[in-house]
Subunit: 194 residues, 2 copies
DNA sequence: GTCTATAATTAGATAGAC
DNA sequence: GTCTATCTAATTATAGAC
């Protein structure tokens, strides 16, 4: 492990870190090269330029997120438990979502190529969550009035917004508060009172 | 109405627009001056520099947001209806939240001065929503298990995250879907089934 | 107050040596 | 493949005229 051998690899990793920390417009090729320990020639040999390198970085970040989410959502448990596990999974909350944050980047949104992996990843995530809500509805754990697509969107939006609240006050607890509020609303016991 | 007379006024307005569209790191003094139709001297006469001007712009945006939210939340109606009115109020969804988007800006978060108005505004909003949830709980419209602070955080997070989802796919409908999902979870009728 | 001129620094990319 | 040198434009700010 540690620093990768190949320069192209180090460039992608450095870009991933910087996109997460500073976004696309806030990341300069200079900063990438410094962090990767590579020269300009190395970057322009492997990639066509900043957008091309960023695309490679975003795609890898998206892949990793999907793998991590799949591991949590495919774990055993009731639908509610799996959603709860996803909402409560360990996160570096103050760093924000490495995929979701890109939607606040004007240059990313202006490029169909850069926006595509973001759109696909969040769309996939919504679909996964919707399937679980649907499952819970069929099992009677969730009320039939809950639309799976809508509920999934609410779950994902609460997560993404939780990052916003936590970063605003500089305290990860704000994220947890929003998640607890959502879990209370989703809780089967509460929707089927005594 | 129209373009303000005073240059300082035009500078603040231009900065407000650009911060909303491109964020802090994506906004250059040059772009501000172009949009405001002002020269460099004008800007450095009224403001100490980019951070100072941005602070003035952020404060005004925060003021306007508070006024607009107050108008909706203080309107007549049950607690659920007032929250629903807030969630469904007209928004330019794809532009995102002018305050919330700043939390994704590394330079804003790195500055206590710039982050303060963002933190205060979202904190105030959470407080207002929590008071309404509390009210609804006392009236029996919301279940006693719903913690007002947590529920308010969930409502605000869903909004902020709704912008993320909508911007990712370039469709405001994604925002509405998340809102409908939240309203279904909050709906008194669903929490007190037949 | 507002302007233009200037300047030091960085962004983003190219050329060509090794 | 990787490096350094170079280049054009933009960023952020200062100086000084009007």
């Amino acid at each position: 492990m540690g620093t990768p051998e190949r320069a192209s690899e180090r460039l992608v990793e450095a870009t991933r870190e910087l996109l997460w920390e500073r976004g696309y417009v806030g990341t300069s090729p200079r900063a990438i090269l410094d962090r990767a320990g590579a020269g300009q020639g190395s970057m322009y040999h492997h990639f066509k330029g900043k957008p091309d390198l960023a695309l490679a970085a975003i795609r890898r970040t998206a892949e990793e997120l999907r793998a991590a989410v799949t591991a949590v959502l495919d774990a055993p448990g009731t639908p509610y438990e799996r959603i709860e596990a996803y909402l409560r999974r360990e996160r570096e909350v103050l760093r924000g979502c490495p995929v979701g944050r890109l939607t606040m980047d004007p240059d990313v949104l202006a490029s169909d190529a850069l926006r595509a992996p973001v759109d696909e990843t969040l769309g996939w995530l919504r679909g996964r969550l919707a399937a679980i809500v649907q499952e819970g509805r069929e099992q009677g754990q969730f009320a039939p009035e809950l639309d799976p697509e809508e509920t999934a969107a609410t779950v994902l939006a609460t997560l993404q917004g939780g990052y916003v609240l936590a970063r605003a006050c500089g305290d990860p607890a704000a994220f947890d508060t929003a998640v607890r509020g959502l879990l209370a609303l989703l809780r089967p016991a509460h929707r089927q009172p005594l």
